[in-house]
């Protein structure tokens, strides 16, 4: 019996470090860029139980006697990056049967063990909006994920709200990707694309009204309809529309639909944002943009420009960046900030666009996107200036746990590539900037 007690005690002692980090951890002497607030030299980031307990310096942060300390002199700490548009995890959404499929959930078709998720960790990304493709007007529901370590199933990466629901948006697209010549129920023109979307939203309004009218009388409820339920979520602002759009007129069409149905929108890609930056700002529509190394690739992106970030900033719009991984690799996400600054965006807004702006777009601004007391302890340790090509992501931490360490040979392999770094998926697995390759061709 005594042995059993000892055994139990041993298990408890051993298990203690695993039960969250009840012992506080302090990351000291680093330059801290909290994103919200001014950079702190010789800063202290205090973490406990997966949350940020304090951010400051020796004058403002008191460390308890039991604190575990990591000296990060010469290093830079900033919030974990938030990617507002990615295709990591090799997920799939809608099929070829119809152009609008709000019922389809990426949740049901994503690989939590894909190498691309590890590459995102290596790039310093801690929160990501994973989307289905853009070959549909609506290709289904998206997933907001935390890139926690050692995920065996997708549930391990989900972000849950207070009501127990998991976080995610819904993907819409206009322009040429959803257009399929002779595509049956698919649109053949831009105007038809808009008409098909409006038609579904009007149906959803009617469906919602029936539910409201039924009140507590279950017998009067309309039959369950998964597609309508998802669109009602959109109408009721429980689900944000991530609207893939490139050309200036398509951007305005997306805003027109948004105005008509009052849904919450995040403009995605927005390749010609610089042409309609004022209109975007006036509509208070957040814009998530991408940096591509050269213009073109398809007709509606011939005028994509590095100046999108600067133009949107100047117009006063909320600007975030995204990888659209595999269009750009998650490991180079910080580079987007560098290219934005190259084209005239302010450094502060570029760093904001990699973190906080995206958190706002995903309704996660209370949990991630900046280093502030009470937020999740999601942060990255950098070897230098975040916007320098010579800077490496040294460590990535999610909820107080280290998920990437460049000094670990296994993680290093993911960071630079080589035999065993990839699961063979990727190169031809490109979804979104384009249509769904394979489905369209």
């Amino acid at each position: 019996m005594k042995q059993l007690y000892l055994c139990a005690l041993a298990v408890l002692v051993l298990a203690c470090p695993l039960l969250g980090q009840s012992r506080p951890t302090a990351f000291v002497n680093a330059r801290i860029i909290p994103v919200v607030g001014q950079p702190i030299e010789q800063g202290i980031l205090l973490v406990q139980d997966g949350k940020i307990k304090a951010v400051g310096d020796a004058r403002t942060v008191r460390l308890s006697a039991d604190v575990q300390t990591f000296d990060l002199a010469g290093k830079t700490i900033m919030p974990g990056l938030v990617d507002s548009h990615s295709h990591v995890g090799s997920g799939s959404g809608a099929d070829a049967s119809a152009p609008i499929q709000p019922d389809v959930r990426l949740l049901d078709g994503i690989n939590a063990r894909a190498a691309s998720l590890q590459r995102a960790q290596a790039g310093g990304i801690t929160t990501v909006n994973v989307m289905p493709g853009s070959g549909h007007l609506d290709s289904g529901q998206t997933l907001y994920l935390k890139l926690r370590d050692n995920a065996v199933k997708i549930d391990d990466l989900l972000i849950f709200g207070k009501d127990g629901s998991y976080a995610g948006g819904i993907k819409f697209a206009n322009g040429t990707n959803p257009i399929r010549a002779g595509g049956g129920s698919f649109p053949g023109t831009r105007a038809k694309s808009a008409a098909l979307v409006r038609e579904q939203f009007i149906k959803a309004q009617e469906y919602r009204d029936k539910i409201k009218k039924a009140g507590k009388d279950a017998t009067k409820l309309p039959a369950r309809d998964l597609a309508m339920e998802a669109l009602v979520d959109v109408l009721e602002h429980r689900r944000v529309v991530h609207f893939h759009t490139h050309r200036h007129d398509d951007i305005l069409t997306a805003l027109r639909l948004q105005k008509e149905f009052g849904f919450r929108i995040v403009l995605q890609h927005v390749s010609e944002a610089w042409k309609v930056a004022d209109e975007i700002a006036k509509a208070k529509a957040p814009a998530s943009i991408i940096f591509i190394d050269s213009p073109g690739g398809k007709l509606e992106t011939t005028d994509i420009s590095f100046i999108n970030g600067a133009a949107l900033e100047k117009a006063g719009a909320l600007v975030g960046f995204h990888t659209d991984d595999g269009i750009t690799d998650s490991r180079w996400f910080l580079r987007s900030g560098g290219l934005a600054v190259r084209a005239g965006m302010s450094r502060d807004k570029a760093l904001y666009a990699l973190t906080m702006a995206n958190a706002i777009m995903l309704d996660l601004q209370d949990r991630v996107g900046s280093l502030e007391t009470g937020k999740d302890a999601d942060f990255i340790v950098l070897s230098g200036d975040p916007l320098s090509v010579y800077t490496h992501v040294l460590e990535t931490w999610v909820e107080g746990k280290k998920v990437f360490d460049r000094s670990d040979p296994k993680d290093y392999l993911i960071a630079v590539g080589g035999k065993g770094a990839s699961d063979g998926e990727g190169a031809e697995h490109i979804h979104c900037f384009d249509g769904d390759i394979g489905e369209n061709e």
């Binding site: 190394d293 420009s305 100046i307 190259r342 090509v389 590539g417 080589g418």
Partner: protein, 407 residues
């Protein structure tokens, strides 16, 4: 509202100088003195406070300002950092355009799998926007041609990124013949080649035919024979794109059998067969540092270039072929990522897009470094050329200031 739009336009045009109208005014070749805070000559260590004198399209003198005096009448252009015009050692730009529509994608004829007779000069569009795009980042020379998507897709050429037509732009009309081994070389269902072994058999059969023809005095004058004879006679190399280790080894095996010249291209698995590549003596044009991993390229590493260099193998970097976006990579960005990874010094990374690229392409007598007598091809920057936030502030080709756009 309208005013706001104008402001945006101003932002685009003035501040960031997306378009500039100075270029037209400065088209004539003049006597120019380029003064650089740092001049990377790539023929020695960087020179602080350097001067490059340009006369008649050629470099007249290079050295520190203390020893090179600027003659009267020279136009003076200042830059923080000056480098040789950059060289993209392998691209398809000019044959493939930025629209990515069938009418501007001319780097592959799908009609047959072995077409070494297709000339790049018959397809090159000197006015392609992607050529201009590269020029504005300081890239002055490109090795471009048929894309790596067939066993032999056609020829490659070397061009300057300036010139109103192909004749003005061309440096070398036929540089290499583009051969591909691996998944990308398969011709599709029901057609040959459909396997790696078949690819090798077909390539060997073509080389045997050429070898036999080379012994005849009346070999005839068909286009394919003509170009294959140039391969057999070692006048030009095959540019063999191969990513998996077995494909790289097949390329080396076949080259040895026929004693032909080869430039290895892509080579994602290079880090697994360094000794074999080294023993072959062939130079390598390695995949872009930021190339996507997957399929034949699943093992690629951003350290391939550094490992090849460390093994004593001559390496150049390329922008490569992209089927979609970015429709072209920018080789400056790819070298930057290689330098950023820190297994190579900035100087070594720069050499892969300047002098070593020139050597592999056989044009180092004209370009690739800032030395007296070479073509006056120069790139100018407002800081470390590799930093994300640095701009290319000007490009000179053949002594002409061809771009003043701030990119």
């Amino acid at each position: 509202m309208k005013n706001n739009k104008l402001t945006i336009m101003n932002l685009a045009i003035c501040c960031l100088a997306l378009f500039t109208f100075h270029v037209a005014a400065s088209n004539c070749t003049a006597q120019i003195a380029v003064k650089g805070g740092t001049v990377w000559t790539m023929a020695g260590p960087p020179i602080a406070n350097g001067v490059v004198l340009i006369k008649n399209g050629k470099i007249e003198a290079v050295g520190p300002a203390s020893s090179v005096s600027i003659p009267a009448g020279y136009r003076i252009i200042n830059a923080q950092v000056v480098t040789p015009g950059l060289i993209d050692a392998h691209t398809v730009v000019g044959l493939n355009g930025y629209l990515n529509q069938p009418h501007d994608q001319m780097a592959l004829d799908g009609g047959a799998s072995f077409q070494p007779e297709l000339r790049a000069i018959d397809a090159y569009n000197a006015e392609e926007r992607l050529v201009e795009w590269l020029r504005e980042f300081g890239i002055t020379t490109i090795h471009t041609g048929h894309q790596p998507s067939a066993l032999a897709s056609g020829q490659t050429m070397i061009a300057k990124t300036w010139g109103k037509n192909v004749d003005e732009a061309t440096m070398v009309p036929t540089a290499m013949v583009a051969v591909t081994l691996g998944s990308a070389a398969n011709a599709g269902p029901g057609r040959s080649p459909g396997s790696r072994a078949k690819q090798a058999a077909m390539l060997r059969a073509e080389l045997i035919k050429a070898l036999e023809n080379s012994k005849k005095t009346d070999a005839g004058k068909d286009l394919k024979t003509e170009i294959m004879l140039r391969i057999i006679k070692r006048e030009i190399p095959l540019l063999i794109t191969a990513h998996l280790a077995q494909d790289i080894l097949t390329a080396i095996r076949i080259a040895k059998e026929f004693n032909i010249r080869v430039v290895l291209d892509g080579v994602s698995d290079a880090h697994m067969v360094l000794d074999d590549i080294k023993a072959s003596g062939f130079p390598v044009i390695v995949h872009p540092t930021m190339a996507r991993a997957g399929g034949d390229t699943e093992n690629l590493s951003m350290e391939n270039a550094s490992k090849l260099r460390a093994a004593g193998i001559r390496v150049a970097l390329q922008s490569g072929y992209e089927g979609y976006v970015p429709k072209t990579r920018v080789v400056l960005f790819e070298a930057a990522m290689a330098a950023g990874n820190k297994r190579l010094s900035p100087q070594e990374a720069m050499s892969m897009i300047t002098i070593d690229a020139a050597r592999i392409l056989g044009i180092d007598n004209r370009v690739g470094s800032l030395e007296k007598g070479k073509d006056a091809d120069i790139a100018m920057y407002d800081g470390d050329p590799f930093e994300f936030t640095t701009h290319c502030t000007g490009t000179i080709i053949n002594g002409r200031l061809v771009s003043e756009v701030v990119r």
